[in-house]
């Protein structure tokens, strides 16, 4: 990387550096989930039949709906970055608001999906799961662990975006100083991207 200017030395601001740091952080998040993906692929390889049977228990409709919701929310947060560049504060706030609402819709779907499973007695340590094969127990263990960790990232992302919304409102984030909005959008794309991998692994490959 080339040192383009030394302005940051006086005003302690370096947008390029902030974005570099965010990209590296996103990389570590991918590695974090990468550990789970390795564990998933090993156990899938060892228990192909059980994973096949267990995957058929999942509701493809809810999974697809959540995929569409997250893809649209990724688009709205990207549009929010463009609109702050165009100095349109109102539109920025509206688009970020839509993103937050979509994220909450994702969580509501998740709630119904999980509570449905739990009411059918499918959760780690349950009586019904105890009577299934070890592969099926592992599948649902991984399902709860991976989608749960992803849901935690959704919650963190919503909190991050809501915080940046407040900064936009107070004009601490504006058309010539919006790197934190860009970083929150980057984080949101990561959350989206991880779901794009989780969705086929659990819902589509049967």
């Amino acid at each position: 990387m080339i040192m383009t200017d030394h302005a940051h030395i006086d005003e302690h601001r370096d947008d390029e550096g902030a974005k570099t740091g965010m990209w590296i952080f996103i990389f570590t998040e991918l590695l974090l989930f990468g550990g789970l993906f390795i564990v998933y692929s090993i156990y899938r390889y060892l228990n192909p039949m059980a994973f096949h049977l267990a995957a058929e228990e999942l509701d493809i409709f809810i999974g697809t709906a959540n995929t569409v919701i997250l893809l649209v929310s990724s688009m709205t947060i990207a549009m929010a970055v463009t609109s702050i560049q165009l100095k349109n504060k109102r539109l920025t706030l509206i688009l970020m608001g839509i993103t937050v609402c979509l994220a909450l819709a994702f969580m509501v779907n998740k709630y119904f999906e999980w509570s449905g499973k739990i009411s059918h007695g499918i959760f780690p340590g349950s009586e019904i799961l105890h009577q299934s094969s070890q592969g099926e127990i592992l599948f649902f263990g991984l399902y709860y662990a991976m989608t749960g960790l992803h849901a935690l990232h959704i919650i963190i992302g919503v909190a991050f975006i809501a915080y940046v919304m407040w900064l936009v409102k107070t004009e601490d984030v504006k058309h010539d100083d919006y790197v934190i909005l860009e970083n929150s959008a980057l984080y949101w794309h990561l959350v989206d991207l991880i779901w794009i991998f989780l969705f086929p692994l659990f819902y589509l490959i049967t």
């Binding site: 990387m1 040192m3 030394h6 940051h8 030395i9 370096d14 390029e16 550096g17 570099t20 740091g21 590296i24 952080f25 990389f27 570590t28 998040e29 590695l31 974090l32 989930f33 990468g34 550990g35 789970l36 390795i38 564990v39 090993i42 780690p124 340590g125 070890q134 592969g135 127990i137 592992l138 263990g141 991984l142 709860y144 662990a145 960790l149």
Partner: protein, 376 residues
């Protein structure tokens, strides 16, 4: 156990954050004119270390999280009773924990690369080779974790691969040793305390590194696995390597940190006792390990008694040396003679500012035009 695992997870987070901070800082905040290949070798070492922290720590983070989920929600990742695989845990643990030892040794190597040219009054031999070997250690070190598990059960191909990679990772370390020694050739050496620590580092690090080769060989490993030999090897590298470089660095930058000099004769006496104690403590463990004493046992059969007593005496000697070294530093921080800006006639940027440095370090942003160790 859950609080301990959660604590380690939080520590992992701080390790990742530190890594990101160092990478971004080194990319973005170098002084004007300081091109990558004009950067001193200590920041280069920190740069390599930071990448290992970023690349390896998330794996142990997710592993610890899986342990927490296994214990709280009965999800059987690793526990055979729940359908999991404990060998998988070993793999995930060592994917992080082997690179972690390079997190410990790389900064130490960076320190040695600073101390040696300063007291040799000579530019470092093979600057580029040291930079490349730093990055090579960070890279290859990521692929050798399996050598901790030679007796855990692995395919033959995996065993050979991890063994050959382990031998490969020794090459960049050896390149550094050769470069440091070559720097000393025909140098006008100033025998100050930091330099003596660096010399001791070279000695113990070579013993540690070569004994690592013994452990990396498959047949020898089966005999030596889980014996005191491993303990000796590990301590020669991580305590001998990192520890000696750490104290060398403390003495080297002490005048810069506190604006005062340490007492040289007490520092040297402390080092001599520490060095003698260190070798008396750990050398017998090589012998004990080869003759069959397992690690992690406080009790042993009669024939291991002699070397164990020698080892214990070495420990006490080493601790007395350590007490002398630390007491001297603590006392000198308040009562030592005043140090100027550049007590060692060093060439890197930190020696151009006040001791201790003023707020934000530089009153005027320096423009770098020379190589870091330009003594000619």
């Amino acid at each position: 156990m859950l609080p301990a695992v959660t604590g380690a997870f939080v520590l992992g987070f701080s390790s990742i954050a530190t890594g990101i901070n160092f990478i971004v800082t080194i990319h973005r905040l170098r002084a004007p004119g300081m091109k990558w290949m004009k950067m001193p070798l200590f920041p280069w070492a920190l740069y390599g270390t930071a990448w290992i922290q970023v690349l390896a720590t998330p794996i142990v983070g997710i592993t610890l999280l899986m342990v927490v989920l296994e214990r709280t929600l009965q999800i059987g990742f690793f526990d055979p009773a729940l359908g999991g695989d404990p060998i998988l845990y070993q793999h995930l643990f060592w994917i992080y924990s082997h690179p972690a030892v390079y997190i410990m040794i790389l900064p130490a190597m960076g320190v040695i690369s600073e101390i040696i040219p300063t007291f040799a009054r000579k530019t470092i031999f093979g600057y580029t080779a040291i930079v490349v070997s730093t990055l090579a250690i960070a890279f290859v070190g990521y692929f050798v974790w399996g050598h901790h598990m030679f007796t855990s059960g692995m395919s033959g191909v995996a065993l050979y691969t991890f063994s050959i990679l382990t031998f490969l990772v020794a090459i960049p370390s050896a390149i550094k040793i050769f470069n440091w020694v070559a720097t000393l050739h025909k140098a006008s050496i100033d025998l100050q305390t930091p330099f003596l620590w660096a010399l001791c580092f070279l000695f113990v690090f070579m013993i540690g590194g070569l004994s690592g080769m013994v452990l990396g060989a498959l047949s020898a490993n089966v005999h030596l696995h889980d014996t005191a030999f491993v303990v000796a090897h590990f301590h020669y590298i991580v305590f001998g390597g990192t520890g000696f470089a750490f104290f060398g660095a403390l003495h080297y930058w002490f005048p810069k940190m506190f604006g005062r000099m340490y007492d040289k004769s007490w520092a040297n006496i402390g080092l001599a006792i520490f060095f003698t104690g260190f070798n008396t403590l750990y050398l017998p463990m090589f012998y004990l390990g080869i003759t069959g004493m397992p690690r992690r046992y406080y009790d042993y059969v009669e024939r291991f008694h002699g070397p164990n007593i020698v080892s214990s005496m070495g420990a006490m000697l080493m601790i007395s040396g350590l007490i002398i070294v630390i007491t001297n530093l603590v006392r000198s921080a308040r009562h030592g003679a005043k140090a100027g800006k550049d007590p060692w006639k060093g060439k890197t940027l930190e020696w151009t500012v006040d001791s201790p440095p003023s707020l934000e370090n530089f009153d005027e942003i320096p423009l770098v035009t020379q190589d870091p160790y330009d003594y000619d």
